[in-house]
Symmetry: C2
Subunit: 336 residues, 2 copies
C-alpha cells in the first residue's frame, strides 16, 4: 500500500513551473537548459523523489531497453555462475543490466524461458544452449537481436559463440601423460553436456593416437547412464583385468568422483582433471585450467559489440586452456 504514488515528469514540471519537456531534457542530458531552470527542476525532482521511468522511456524510444538476457540451465553448477558473473561485469560497463533466467535443466523449457525474456525486448541474448536445437530463435535473429552462445555452439542456428579449447586442452593433458610413459589412460566423465564431452573425448583420442594407441575405447567411461557415478566408473576401470595407469576426467564433477575413489587405493594412478577447483593446489591435483569468468566476459563483450554494430561475420571465440602441473599428473608410468 503505497503511501504516495510515484512522481512523474509532469509532477516535477508542475512543481518547477516548466513544461514536461524541459524536465525531460534535463534527464536526457541535453545541455540546452538554463542552469537556473535546471537547478529548479532538480530541486523539485528531489522533493518529489522523482525517478525517470525507464519503462516508458524505453517504449518511446522504439522499444529499446538497456537489458541483456542471460539464460542458463543447470543452476547447481558453479561453473555457470562464474560465466554469469563475467557477463554481468562486462554488461555493466556498457550501462546494461542483465536479465537472468534459468531453465532448470529442462530442455523443453528453454524456448519458453527465452521467449519470456525476449518479450521484454532485451537488446541481446546470451545463452548456454540446453535444448536440442535453437532453430526457434531464427525469427528473432532476423529481427536483428544479437544472439551469443557460451560454452557450446547453437544447433541449427547461426550465432556468435564463445567456447573453450576443449579438444586441445584435453590433448595437452594426455600428451603430458604419454610423455611420462603412460599408454593405458582412462577417460572418465559423468553424464554431461554432449558438445564439451565429445570435444574433450576427441582430444583424448587424438593424443593417444599420436602415442600409438589406436583404440582407447576399453578405457573410456563416458557416463552415458546418469545412475552411474564417476566413482563407480573409476572403480570399474581400476578393477578391470588391464587397469589404466593414468586417468583424465571430463570435468570438475568427474574429478571429484575420481579423487574420492583414488583415495581408497594403494597403487599410484596419475590423474589430470578438466576444470580447476579451489583446493586443487593444496591437494596437488594437476588440471586443465581455464577461466570461466573470462568466458563470460568474452560473451558480454561480444554482446555489446553486436549491439553497437549489427552485422558483420559470425564470430567464434575459442579461449585457451592451461595445463597446470601440481603433481598428480606427473606420476610416471610404472616400468615393466
Amino acid at each position: 500500500m503505497p503511501i504516495q504514488s510515484r512522481a512523474t515528469l509532469h509532477d516535477v514540471a508542475r512543481l518547477a513551473g516548466v513544461s514536461a519537456k524541459t524536465v525531460s531534457r534535463v534527464y536526457s542530458g541535453s545541455p540546452r537548459v538554463l542552469p537556473e531552470t535546471r537547478e529548479r527542476i532538480l530541486a523539485a525532482a528531489k522533493r518529489l523523489r522523482f525517478r525517470p521511468n525507464t519503462v516508458a522511456r524505453n517504449l518511446r524510444q522504439g522499444g529499446k531497453t538497456d537489458t541483456v538476457a542471460f539464460v542458463m540451465g543447470d543452476i547447481h553448477n558453479p561453473f555457470y555462475f562464474h560465466v554469469a558473473a563475467g557477463i554481468e561485469q562486462e554488461l555493466a560497463k556498457g550501462g546494461f543490466t542483465m536479465l537472468w533466467a534459468s531453465t532448470g535443466d529442462a530442455p523443453d523449457s528453454e524456448p519458453v524461458v527465452v521467449d519470456a525474456l525476449l518479450s521484454q525486448l532485451v537488446r541481446a541474448l546470451v545463452l548456454i544452449p540446453i535444448a536440442g536445437d535453437q532453430s526457434y530463435l531464427e525469427g528473432e535473429r532476423q529481427l536483428g537481436t544479437p544472439i551469443i552462445t557460451v560454452d557450446r555452439p547453437a544447433t541449427d542456428l547461426v550465432a556468435d559463440t564463445v567456447v573453450l579449447a576443449n579438444r586441445s586442452g584435453m590433448a595437452d593433458a594426455v600428451r603430458s601423460l604419454t610423455a611420462n610413459g603412460h599408454r593405458k589412460i582412462g577417460f572418465v566423465s559423468n553424464p554431461s553436456e554432449m558438445y564439451t564431452l565429445s570435444e574433450r573425448l576427441a582430444g583424448y583420442r587424438q593424443a593417444l593416437m599420436e602415442a600409438g594407441v589406436a583404440d582407447s575405447t576399453p578405457w573410456e567411461r563416458l557416463g552415458n547412464d546418469p545412475s552411474i557415478t564417476p566413482e563407480s566408473q573409476v572403480r570399474s576401470l581400476l578393477d578391470s583385468s588391464d587397469p589404466p595407469t593414468a586417468i583424465v576426467t571430463g570435468n570438475n564433477r568427474a574429478t571429484m568422483g575420481a579423487l574420492r575413489e583414488l583415495r581408497t587405493r594403494e597403487d599410484p594412478v596419475a590423474l589430470i582433471g578438466f576444470d580447476d577447483f579451489e583446493l586443487a593446489e593444496m591437494l596437488g591435483i594437476s588440471v586443465v585450467a581455464h577461466d570461466p569468468v573470462e568466458l563470460g566476459r568474452a560473451a558480454g563483450r561480444l554482446a555489446l559489440e553486436r549491439i553497437e554494430h549489427h552485422g558483420g561475420p559470425i564470430r567464434r571465440i575459442e579461449l585457451p586452456t592451461r595445463l597446470v602441473k601440481r603433481g598428480s599428473g606427473e606420476i610416471p608410468a610404472p616400468t615393466g
Copy 2:
C-alpha cells in the same frame, strides 16, 4: 540491421481481420474469444512471428513489471551465487524474472546500481547490503516497493530480512569442541562482512564463556587487516607461546586458509569450519553447514508474498545451521 521490423498487435489484428483489442484478449488469456477467431489470430501471429511487447504492456498496466531486482556485492564469492540461484528459482515459480546487478564490492556504488534497477520499475528489491547504510531506500519503501535483505540486515532502513543462525551455529561448533575437552580455541576469519562476522564471534565467545573461558581475545584473529591471509593468522596462532588445541573459522575462505596451514603441521589441531564445501566430506572436515540456496529461496518467497499482499509486520527469517561432524572437529584435546 533488422531484415524486417517487429510485428505489433495491430499487424496481427489487420492480418486476422479483427481489432487490436481482440488480439490483446487472446494474449491476456481472456476466455471471451470465439475459438475460431482465436485460431485465426494465433495463425496470423505465428506467420508474423508476433511476440507481445511486455514493455508496453507493463507501461499500460500502471508501470508494473514482472521483474524483481537482485543486487549483490562480491562477485567472486560462490556463496552469493547459490543465493542468487535460490532467489531466481522461487521468482520463476511466480512468473517473475530476476534483474541481476552487482556493485563490484564498491560500497559507494550500491545506491547507483540500486537506483538504476529501481528505475526499471521492479516489483521488489532483494539486496545483500554492502553500503554503510540503506537509508537512501526509505523513499522507495514508502512508495510500496518491497525490500528484502539477505545474509545481513539493512542499516537505517526497515526491511524484511533473511539471515543465518550465525550465532547459535558457531556456538554449537564451539560447544562441541569444549565437550571434547578443548578450552584454548582459536577463532580465525579473513576480513569479511561485519554483521556475520560479529554474530559468529559472539556465538564463539558465548560458548567459551559457558565453558568457563572468560577472555578469548588472545585466540581471536579477526582479519581486520586485508593484507593478512587466514594462513598467516593460523600460523601466528600456532606459533604463539600458548597455542590453541582447536580452531574454528569464520567462513569458507578462512577454512581453506586454515586447511592449507594445518597441512604443514605435525600436531593435531581440531578444526571446525563455518560454511560447507564440496570436498569437505572427502577430507573429513567438520563444518557448520547451511543451505545458501535455501537462503535465496526464502528471500524469493518473501518477495513474492510482499508483492501479493503489501503491508503487515516486518519479517525476519533466521535459517538454521547444522553441525556436520566428519572427524576434524572431533579430535579430543590433548590431556595434561
